[in-house]
């Protein structure tokens, strides 16, 4: 009987020949990560336990992302706790505001997570990194404190679900649409406690960024982790970027999967998750014309350079709709600089969008564009539970960057074709 790539990675990291689904293991961790919100609780847990020696100062990343720059006095004080800790222990992977960005865009961008790794992050979207062919999962702060102290994490080996995508993605369809479609099919707890392995010919058409968008949202299906086998797209992305040597793991042809899906995605239109659940997914045409007050392009899901390029292509020479505000937040400092160089930021500002330094900000209703009562937002982010982006009676549609941008230009949910026309739609190479 064969094994999945995930089982092989977890076996190697727990010093075993093989591991079975459901087995409890102590896994050696390659990289641990916490942010400005989750690190302070980890620090408190370490202090309470009287632990003053950390496992490895070069493998514990602290990335400021959520309430940065500080949104109020309390968040400034909280960030100071994490900052003092990082400086006291001389953590080499400390990314203060201005030095990094959103962790799930930053760590892959800097080549700090590589195929075959086990990565544990105190943030639910830590599953993102699995798109690079590794195991990563989100945990709470106390779990992360234990990793900081020991370099190990207890895990139950997850079962794996297989998702095979066939066909060439149509115009305006990207990783976001594939993952929204998938969550719509299996539901917000459809992958509870499980690993989701994405594969198939369609993935060859997806960039590394688009793949990371897919694994980013496995948590919205309840998944523990996501996995995409490293291939030539991954290798090209890692070239000149990977900070450590790595090993590529592949699932055996006779590996055990607890569920198997196979979809032909040719002809699929862009997908949209309606309020108030990420699995209330419909094709774009079903919601075209719905009124929106605000649009948000950014977050760990879709705040990367290719997302900004698509948006700029649509925005060029146009204005944001009257009465609507459009927030554009490049996910990292590097993406922001690249967008500046390419003239994208100028296009957004000319269009009268608001452009901000890297932060999770509005995605979690933190700051930089919180929604008021009954306001509706179309967002490139990942969650639309009640009150997620602000007031409990506000509403959120989730969509890909092109749909978000097209809607920002009209004030209604809009197909990008209606802005640029079918002839201009980007088609996968």
């Amino acid at each position: 009987m064969g094994y999945t790539a995930m089982q092989k990675i977890l076996a190697v990291h727990s010093g075993k020949k093989a591991v079975e689904s459901g087995e409890f293991i102590m896994a050696k961790v390659d990289l641990a990560m916490a942010n400005d919100i989750t690190a302070p609780i980890s620090i408190k847990a370490l202090e309470r336990a009287g632990i003053t020696k950390l496992w490895n100062k070069d493998r514990i990343a602290i990335v400021f992302s959520h309430f940065v720059p500080a949104k109020d006095i309390l968040s400034a004080a909280q960030a100071a706790v994490a900052r003092e800790f990082a400086l006291k222990y001389d953590l080499s992977l400390f990314f203060d505001e201005g030095r990094g960005g959103i962790e799930h865009s930053l760590l892959p961008e800097l080549g700090l997570v590589v195929p075959g790794d086990v990565v544990i992050g105190a943030d639910s979207h830590s599953c993102t990194y699995g798109g690079l062919g590794l195991f990563s999962t989100g945990v709470g702060s106390t779990d992360l404190a234990a990793v900081m102290a020991t370099g190990e994490c207890w895990l139950k080996v997850p079962e794996t679900m297989k998702f095979n995508y066939r066909g060439k993605p149509g115009p305006w369809v990207t990783g976001k649409d594939l993952i929204l479609f998938t969550i719509g099919k299996i539901g917000v707890d459809g992958a509870l406690y499980r690993n989701m392995e994405f594969m198939g010919p369609s993935l060859k058409f997806l960039s590394m960024e688009a793949r990371l968008t897919m694994t980013n949202m496995v948590i919205e299906a309840g998944g523990k982790s996501g996995f995409i086998e490293a291939d030539e797209v991954t290798e090209a992305y890692l070239k000149g970027r990977a900070k450590r040597p790595y090993e590529v793991y592949k699932s055996d042809p006779d590996a055990q999967y607890c569920a198997s899906y196979d979809w032909d995605i040719s002809g699929m239109e862009p997908q949209v998750a309606q309020p108030n659940l990420p699995d209330k997914v419909v094709g774009l045409s079903a919601v075209v014309g719905a009124k929106v007050h605000s649009a948000f392009l950014g977050s760990c899901t879709n705040g990367r350079i290719e997302d900004l390029r698509i948006a700029a292509e649509l925005m060029k020479g146009k204005k944001v709709a009257k009465g609507l505000r459009f927030m554009v937040i490049p996910a990292t400092q590097n993406i922001y600089r690249q967008a500046l160089k390419e003239g994208l930021i100028d296009i957004f500002m000319e269009a009268e969008a608001v452009v901000s330094a890297a932060t999770c900000g509005p995605c979690l209703g933190g700051h930089m564009g919180v929604l008021g009562p009954d306001e509706v937002c179309i967002s490139s982010s990942n969650r639309n539970f009640p009150g997620r982006m602000g007031h409990r009676d506000s509403k959120v549609y989730l969509a890909n960057p092109a749909v978000v941008t097209a809607s920002a230009l009209t004030g209604y949910i809009t197909h990008p074709d209606d802005i640029l026309g079918k002839a201009k739609a980007p088609v996968a190479a």
Binding site: P40, A49, L74, S141, A149, G222, G365, P386, R392
Partner: protein
């Protein structure tokens, strides 16, 4: 033995509803408890009493990894969460910080708001006194019981570190 009133919530209650992100500027459990579940029910933090029991449907605690969510529940003084199923990070967080939880679909489905409950945590026995029905919750795997018996993850880790040095 836990005795308390049940407060019933639906499926897929996410951590934003348990504790809204705007309150994540503190790690103080009591402070967080003042806003526990207020997105789902604005009056909940004032009407729930210490010892009361939160009952929910499927996938309770989905969404973010914020440990502020179980901390808020603990800070409000609730004694237990019973659900049809839990999201995995929330589940881990509860075990790690010693917030009692029980997974029991039958008990969770049958409960109505205001039911009086009697629960024996060690045995996983849930009694709905109002409805006169008893249920047995799913047992924790042996590995997790070790963490629970140690009093949470950090005491467990300290023990392991002491053994290895």
């Amino acid at each position: 033995m836990i005795n308390g009133t049940a407060y019933k919530f639906g499926d897929n209650v996410d951590t934003d509803q348990i504790i809204s992100a705007k309150y994540l500027v503190t790690t103080d459990a009591v402070e967080l408890g003042k806003h526990c579940m207020e997105v789902a029910d604005a009056d909940f933090p004032t009407k729930a009493k210490a010892g009361d029991i939160l009952v929910a449907g499927r996938n309770f605690g989905c969404g973010s990894s914020r440990e502020h969510a179980p901390l808020a529940i603990k800070g409000l003084g609730l004694s237990l969460v019973i659900a049809e199923s839990f999201a995995r990070i929330f589940f881990r967080n509860c075990i790690n910080i010693g917030m009692p939880i029980l997974e029991c679909p039958e008990a969770a489905k049958d409960v109505s708001d205001g039911d009086q409950m009697e629960v024996n945590l060690d045995q996983g026995m849930i009694k709905n006194v109002t409805k006169g029905k008893s249920y047995k919750a799913q047992a924790f795997p042996g590995f997790m019981q070790q963490i629970i018996q140690a009093g949470g993850l950090m005491p467990y880790v300290k023990k392991r570190l002491a053994q290895s040095s």
